[in-house]
């Protein structure tokens, strides 16, 4: 048992402990419930820092592995199998950090049914961490599907006007992808006799034509989650209707589950198919980059604008991953983190103004800089980060991705990167358009004159994100160092596969 109670288990299931405590608290003691939730998420975050301290950055393989048989079914041993490597470590840290920030952001936003909210939130955190750490396909699928349930409730109960529609749409879309993945998982299990991802990679004897179909089945689940164009239509609904904290987690972490899935499973389990399909995926990614950017510009609702910008940003991540070289993948991973930080912060920012004005229409604002200077300054930093200004995190990620995509043999043409670079310019246009409409010029609406600037608590939500935005922008090397050995290993396997394909 002592083996089971290792760092990874504790990080994954600590939120469950907090959830059980909250379950025992009476529902009208909202303050106690809030503090318990915050404390739980903080401890989880600290535990994830302990995990970081135990992590050996120079090693490529899985670390801190926990592995024990869970149960047997039809000749398979389903295992409780967790591990962390350079591909997943940063995403775990991102998850634990954003959960703390999100819970802190709900202090005044969530006043109804606080107990249930915090319960679902902590359960969601457990599911997300589990997704990033699971190394058994069955276990992974359980965590993957499980995250749907709390998120469905978060959108459906605390969401906006069309919350029920958005919640069901979110659930059905995501489930539609995952059930195809389930069939592929079963197929892999029948062929390989195990669900252990490292063991399946080590076997590596899946014929190329079957890899193709399995790749597509996994991709169905992940592409919907990312979301890749043209499977993105659940995203604006879910984002706009979700409560602020839900949007932060949705954009910050849940979408990354899709890109992470591509990286962890599609690239490593089906390398030949990945090499063959890379130009197609890159093509869809580029369409997503441009489409997301164009649609963002057309939005009048700030939250929708940010939501569509995610389609564009995640297109960059996908382009980077499917460059299938070290630069592209490293840039992709870093950009996952960057997008989590900057878009998470943007949703917090939108939530703050919505709490004050109960509208998110661009037209309703203008000149807010004069009224709320601290808020405006922080927003400016986040906006610039999101559009990729050099010196901030977004630039490092997008630049590395484009570098990788330009030199990518798998994609085969520099045009993809060239078109994607247009997306950077478009991002500048729609982000600055938003900033100008909201913050610059004279104060045109009387309702905006009396707005209070953001409180210490709200500043506290944004500050850690802004610090990281600068840190990654100015000194990204430690972040790359954490991931590069693992990425190199993936790339080496992909190169072997590329030789086999040609």
């Amino acid at each position: 048992m002592s083996d089971l109670l290792s760092t990874l288990t504790v990080v994954t299931f600590f939120p469950l402990v907090g959830a059980l405590v909250i379950l025992l608290l009476p529902k009208d003691r909202t303050t106690a419930i809030r503090w318990t939730a915050l404390a739980t998420s903080l401890v989880t975050f600290i535990l994830s820092l302990v995990l970081l301290s135990q992590f050996q950055a120079g090693e490529a393989g899985m670390q801190l592995v926990v592995r024990a048989p869970w149960f047997r079914v039809a000749g398979w041993t389903i295992e409780y199998h967790l591990g962390v490597d350079g591909l997943s470590l940063l995403l775990v840290l991102l998850t634990t950090l954003l959960t703390v920030v999100s819970i802190l952001s709900t202090w005044s936003a969530i006043t109804e049914r606080v107990k249930e909210f915090m319960l679902f939130f902590l359960l969601l955190e457990m599911g997300m961490i589990g997704v990033f750490l699971a190394l058994d396909l069955f276990l992974f699928y359980v965590f993957w599907e499980f995250t749907l349930v709390p998120m469905y409730f978060l959108i459906g109960i605390w969401g906006g006007e069309r919350r029920m529609y958005a919640a069901i749409k979110f659930f059905l879309y995501t489930m539609a992808g995952s059930i195809l993945m389930l069939l592929a998982i079963l197929w892999l299990g029948l062929a390989g006799g195990t669900f252990s991802v490292p063991d399946l990679i080590a076997q590596g004897n899946i014929p190329a034509n079957i890899q193709f179909w399995l790749f597509l089945a996994f991709a169905a689940a992940f592409a919907i989650k990312v979301p890749m164009w043209p499977l993105h239509s659940w995203l604006p609904d879910a984002h706009v209707e979700a409560p602020t904290a839900g949007s932060v987690i949705l954009a910050g972490v849940l979408l990354k589950m899709g890109t992470y899935g591509f990286l962890r499973f599609n690239l490593t389990l089906f390398p030949q198919a990945a090499v063959q399909l890379a130009p197609w995926v890159a093509g869809f990614a580029v369409v997503g980059i441009l489409y997301g950017a164009a649609v963002s510009y057309a939005q009048r609702d700030v939250k929708k604008l940010v939501a569509y910008s995610s389609v564009s940003h995640l297109g960059f991540v996908m382009l980077g991953l499917f460059a299938l070289n070290a630069q592209g993948i490293q840039g992709g991973i870093l950009q996952m983190v960057n997008h989590g930080l900057s878009t998470g912060a943007l949703f917090l920012i939108v939530g703050m103004i919505y709490e004050r004005r109960h509208t998110r229409e661009l037209e309703a604002f203008g000149g807010l800089w004069k009224v709320m200077p601290i808020y405006a300054a922080l927003t400016l930093i986040v906006t610039l980060s999101s559009m990729g200004l050099p010196g901030l995190n977004g630039f490092v990620g997008e630049f590395t991705i484009l570098l990788g995509a330009f030199g990518s043999e798998a994609i085969g043409s520099p045009w993809f990167a060239g078109l994607a670079a247009l997306g950077v310019i478009l991002a500048a246009i729609y982000m600055l358009h938003m900033f100008q409409k909201m913050f610059l010029g004279p104060v045109t609406k009387d309702e905006n004159r009396g707005l209070k600037d953001i409180s210490a608590r709200e500043i506290l939500c944004l500050v850690p994100l802004v610090i990281l935005i600068f840190w990654i922008g100015l000194y990204p090397r430690p972040f790359f160092a954490l991931m590069s050995p693992s990425v190199d290993r993936v790339v080496a396997a992909l190169q072997t596969a590329a030789l086999a394909v040609r």
């Binding site: 047997r72 039809a74 069955f138 349930v149 059905l172 069939l183 197929w187």
Partner: protein, 485 residues
């Protein structure tokens, strides 16, 4: 060897015998005190379960010259029936009192029907299949009409009886043809005759098709499903709950037994038939459920859909190397469905009021505020019926789909299965949406036994999903006795 023969049917016999005793005892239990009858019925079931668990020591294998087959498959299913009975009795107690139909016969009929189901799992002879089918069905017809003089209940009983009689006729005709073709009704002898080349293939095939149709009625497979929504809707809820899990499991017990150990040589014909019936059942059950606004009718269509899923196992069991795993996955699915569905019917009874009120899905609005634990349990049941982890419903589907993918040429059926599961998510989630996301002031009832059953089944739904080890292992070694060449 008489003692051995008797030992094979001892648990089923105990249940039937205890039912006979209870008929008399009940006469001496005053009106308004019928809880005692329930308690005695439950005690009988516990005794039968204890006897059943001693079965390996008492006697297994064929009995009565092969008419009874007490194998591990029968053991598992008999235990399942007894557990279903033990859940249905406490579900019933308060409901009957509240609806003003508290009569002791209810429990007697329940026990008779259960003994029929147990006999069904044991049947190694087509005549025993027929006897068991009647023994389990006749009490069910009465139970469906138990809420007389409510018109819906009488209509339910009448419909169930007429269509049930029709199905029985099909079955008997099928048995007669099989007998004509092979000269025996014993499964072993039928198989021997087929293998020895002495069977008339045409008659046997028509007979097998009629048997499939007759049993298809019991499990509510398309196109033999029409009775289901009306019967479930009109029958008293505990009776409908019992039918939806018990009669279905009994139907599948017979289907698997007859086709896998009696007609394995005809798999080239019945496996494709099962495949098509399964595909249409999943598709129609799930699509029609979307349109339902009454929770009992929704659960009825859902039960049709689940029959379709389990039929996939039959379609995937053509061949001696595939059949054991497929049969095990089917019985595990039946268990998972029983646990989940009984809980869901329990919640239906919490919200149901007299005169058929409180049955619309809209009546569940606000349930999460009024009765948070009941709503949470219902959410768990709905997710389990959809097949979302970490519930037992997911694990059962996982196990079942494994068998289907393993069978050659059935990938498309698995795809139909997962796509229809997605469709089902829509209507199951609608119940959750209404409970959690719509404001409302539902009238609910607080009854101790009902609450206990809901709580236990909800916990079981999750625990069996997370720690299924022993139960799965038990289902896995539930093997049908097969007759070697």
């Amino acid at each position: 060897m008489i003692s051995h023969d008797l030992a094979t049917v001892l648990p089923a016999g105990l249940v039937a015998g205890w039912a006979c005793v209870l008929v008399v005892v009940d006469l001496f239990i005053p009106r308004g005190r019928k809880g005692w009858t329930a308690l005695l019925a439950a005690a009988g079931l516990v005794a039968a379960l204890a006897t059943l668990l001693q079965a390996p020591a008492l006697g297994t294998g064929p009995g009565f010259g092969g008419m009874i087959v007490a194998d591990s498959f029968a053991l598992f299913l008999q235990a399942l029936f007894l557990i279903i009975g033990l859940v249905v009795v406490p579900l019933t107690v308060d409901y009957l009192r509240r609806m003003g139909i508290e009569r002791g016969e209810y429990y007697v009929l329940l026990l008779f029907s259960l003994s029929g189901m147990m006999l069904m799992a044991l049947a190694g002879d087509l005549v025993v299949v027929f006897l068991a089918l009647e023994l389990l069905s006749l009490p069910l017809y009465v139970l469906a009409g138990f809420a007389r003089p409510r018109v819906e209940s009488e209509e339910s009983a009448m419909k169930y009886f007429l269509l049930g009689a029709f199905a029985s006729a099909l079955l008997v005709y099928g048995i007669a043809l099989a007998y004509g073709a092979t000269g025996s009704t014993r499964l072993e002898a039928i198989l021997g005759s087929v293998r020895g080349g002495g069977a008339n293939p045409r008659f046997l095939l028509v007979g097998a098709a009629l048997i499939l149709a007759g049993l298809g009625f019991k499990v509510a497979a398309v196109p033999f499903h029409m009775w289901t929504p009306d019967v479930y809707h009109g029958a008293p809820s505990p009776a409908a709950a019992f039918m939806s899990v018990g009669a279905k499991a009994a139907g599948f017990a017979a289907l698997l037994r007859v086709f896998l150990s009696g007609f394995p040589e005809l798999a080239g014909f019945w496996a494709p038939a099962a495949m098509w019936i399964s595909a249409f059942t999943m598709a129609w059950g799930n699509v029609a459920a979307i349109a339902q606004s009454n929770i009992k009718r929704m659960l009825a269509y859902s039960s049709i859909a689940h029959a379709g899923y389990i039929l996939m196992a039959l379609a995937a069991s053509a061949g001696p190397d595939l059949a054991p795993a497929a049969a095990s996955s089917a019985v595990f699915y039946l268990l998972a469905y029983a646990v989940t569905n009984l809980g869901a019917w329990g919640v239906v009874m919490v919200v149901e009021a007299a005169e058929g009120r409180g049955l619309a899905i809209d009546d569940y609005a606000g349930l999460s505020r009024r009765r948070p634990w009941v709503a949470l349990a219902m959410a768990v049941f709905m997710l389990s019926l959809t097949g979302v982890p970490p519930t037992v419903g997911f694990l059962a589907k996982f196990y079942l789909f494994r068998a289907v993918i393993d069978a050659p040429g059935l990938l498309w059926l698995a795809i139909v299965g997962v796509v229809t599961s997605l469709v089902s998510a829509y209507y199951y989630l609608r119940v959750v949406v209404v409970m959690y996301m719509r404001p409302g002031e539902p009238e609910t009832r607080r009854e101790g036994w009902l609450g206990a059953v809901i709580g236990l089944t909800a916990v079981a739904t999750i625990v069996l999903g997370l720690l299924p080890g022993p139960v799965l292992a038990w289902a896995e070694q539930a093997r049908l006795l097969t007759y070697l060449r």
